[in-house]
């Protein structure tokens, strides 16, 4: 058992160093812009590039910061005895994403290729590229993302933090029972392969993009994908011991630290101001201001309706439901944020907040044990948001892109949206099921019953998260 563990970590280590060394002596793709004696004209456009780049980087930092949000929400809503494990998962997942997306993910997603995946410039960002040149001036192999005039590394970094999010979503749903090593492996797979493939379909110029599907900041590309992979994981893993009685009744397992969970949700809310407005990938004043406002309005509205729904339906304003409500609003507005009006964003948020509460209850009815509500937030509302874009989009905001949604006279868009939802869902769910089963067969998926009872902290990491009570540390 122990040896098996070693074997795999050594494998990873080898792979990493190999790729590192290979990469180190591969030619770098980024063209250094020659800058001697610039004309006024050039300075202006350098200013524009710099402006766009700092916007892209700063918003990317905000999205990176969401890792802290996910870590705290998940650990806060789970039990103290699994805290170290959850924190470790959430912490290491971004490191894994960084490497996996660098090695292969980016190339599959944005490399020129066929409608299903990228083929050129596949590994280590080594394809030809003359960013920040845009449009026709762009000569390189990552042409699907040539619309933004920032350096390649800025594009990569921004996309990387998004890729990291998808894996993190899975973490929450499979918490408190998955083996550490198995989660690590799945994270490599989702960020290196699964996410980039469907990402290619929509953002990489693939078949859904061609069909006219839109997803501004990733309700589907990021959130639903994470959600489908999580659903597969939840099914393969089964519920935590003690979550459901034999006759299917729910026995709540309360979160151990609502302070950190709430802080986490606030971090996510903040991070979303990077996620959505940053997805312009350019400092377009009107667009970013509008996106910031639609994002916030949906979040606020969903917070209120989730509160009210929980209060009326369940009897009390459950804080964990309030937090889920906000996140639901944020996920739902992610696809449509740039294409809809502020009042529309308000309505989308109002609905999302109700949906998420119902979804949490529903998943429990289905005995699908999702400790943090990741499915209700990311899968259900990612889907809802993608759909809502087909209803509420208005052509006037980004003329020549989405066209109008159903409520404003268009139908084509909605059909494309539904196709995207189904296509991505079926593919991601199936490939994830396969991935989970392979991991299960090879290294196993779930910790032992004894370890689950005593806690994964002691089992997987040999340490406890808290020594807070006065005398304890003196014992």
């Amino acid at each position: 058992m122990i040896l098996k563990k070693y074997f795999y970590v050594v494998l990873i280590l080898l792979a990493l160093t190999t790729f590192g060394v290979v990469g180190a002596f591969a030619e770098e793709a980024v063209q250094q812009a020659a800058q001697k004696g610039p004309s006024l004209d050039e300075i202006v456009s350098v200013n524009k590039i710099a402006l766009d780049t700092i916007w892209v980087l700063i918003t990317a930092f905000l999205v990176f910061w969401m890792n802290a949000g996910f870590a705290l929400v998940e650990s806060g809503l789970c039990r103290a005895k699994n805290t170290v494990n959850i924190l470790a998962k959430n912490f290491i997942v971004f490191a894994i994403s960084s490497i996996a997306f660098y090695i292969i993910g980016w190339g599959i997603m944005f490399g020129d290729g066929n409608p299903f995946f990228g083929i050129q410039g596949l590994f280590l960002l080594t394809g030809a590229d003359n960013s920040p040149a845009t449009g026709d001036a762009y000569k390189g192999v990552y042409s699907a993302i040539n619309w933004t005039g920032v350096p390649l590394y800025a594009k990569f970094f921004f996309q990387l933090v998004f890729a990291g999010t998808a894996a993190t979503i899975v973490s929450g749903a499979v918490a408190e029972r998955i083996k550490f090593i198995s989660f690590i492996i799945f994270s490599f797979v989702i960020v290196g392969i699964i996410y980039p493939i469907t990402g290619h379909w929509i953002w990489g110029g693939g078949w859904l993009a061609k069909m006219g599907m839109f997803d501004f900041a990733g309700s589907t590309v990021v959130h639903s994908i994470g959600g489908w992979a999580a659903l597969a994981g939840v099914i393969v893993l089964g519920p935590r011991i003690g979550k459901y009685t034999k006759d299917g009744k729910v026995k709540p397992i309360p979160g151990h630290n609502m302070s950190t969970a709430t802080l986490g949700a606030l971090i996510l809310w903040l991070g979303w101001f990077g996620f959505n407005p940053g997805s312009t990938m350019a400092a377009d004043a009107n667009a970013i201001a509008r996106v910031a406002l639609t994002t916030n309005t949906a979040a606020a509205a969903a917070t209120l309706t989730a509160t009210i729904t929980a209060w009326l339906m369940l009897g009390k304003p459950d804080l964990s439901m309030i937090l889920n409500g906000t996140l639901a609003g944020l996920v739902a507005i992610t696809a449509p944020c740039a294409f809809v009006s502020v009042p529309s964003s308000l309505i989308i948020g109002l609905i999302a907040g109700v949906i998420v509460v119902l979804a949490v209850v529903m998943f429990d009815k289905l005995l699908l044990d999702d400790p943090v509500g990741a499915l209700s937030v990311h899968l259900i509302n990612g889907t809802f948001g993608t759909f809502a874009l087909g209803l509420f989009a208005e052509d006037r905001f980004m003329p020549g892109t989405t066209g109008n949604g159903l409520f404003f006279g268009g139908t084509k868009l909605l059909i494309a949206q539904i196709t995207g939802i189904i296509g991505v869902g079926v593919f991601t769910f199936l490939i994830s099921i396969v991935a989970w089963y392979i991991i299960k067969a090879v290294v196993g998926l779930r910790v032992s019953e004894e370890e689950e009872i005593i806690g994964l902290d002691i089992g997987e990491h040999g340490v406890e998260a808290y020594h807070i009570v006065g005398g304890e540390e003196r014992i």
């Binding site: 729910v250 709540p252 397992i253 439901m321 209850v361």
Partner: protein, 112 residues
């Protein structure tokens, strides 16, 4: 010597301690416990499902006294900890064979 154990409501602790002090009690050992009794617990709610928390926070006092003051101590606790509402707690009295003060090695009455 007697060992008096009292389970009381937590917010009464300070008052009880002060009163015991007044009647001459020099030492008390206190621990946090959870009590299950006639007093019903409360219902908590989490993510749409309810569950009953049967165990209520109580405080347990252990007081070792000589036989002669035992009754006074019991009375004092009873009077001070009483709110008249269910869940006020219990007092249990048992016999103690010996007591030793670690610092000095004194035994019996002297050790209290």
């Amino acid at each position: 010597m007697k060992k008096i154990e009292a389970i009381i409501k937590p917010f009464k602790l300070d008052e009880v301690k002060d009163e015991l002090n007044k009647v001459g009690v020099q030492g008390i050992t206190v621990s946090e416990v959870k009590g299950f009794g006639r007093q019903k617990g409360h219902t908590e709610l989490y993510r749409g499902a309810e569950y009953v928390v049967d165990f209520l926070p109580k405080v347990k006092l252990e007081i070792i006294v000589t036989d002669d003051v035992a009754e006074k101590v019991v009375q004092t606790i009873m009077n001070t900890a009483k709110t008249g509402r269910i869940g006020d707690g219990k007092i249990f009295v048992s016999n103690l064979e010996d007591a030793i003060r670690i610092r000095t090695g004194e035994r019996g009455k002297d050790a209290i």
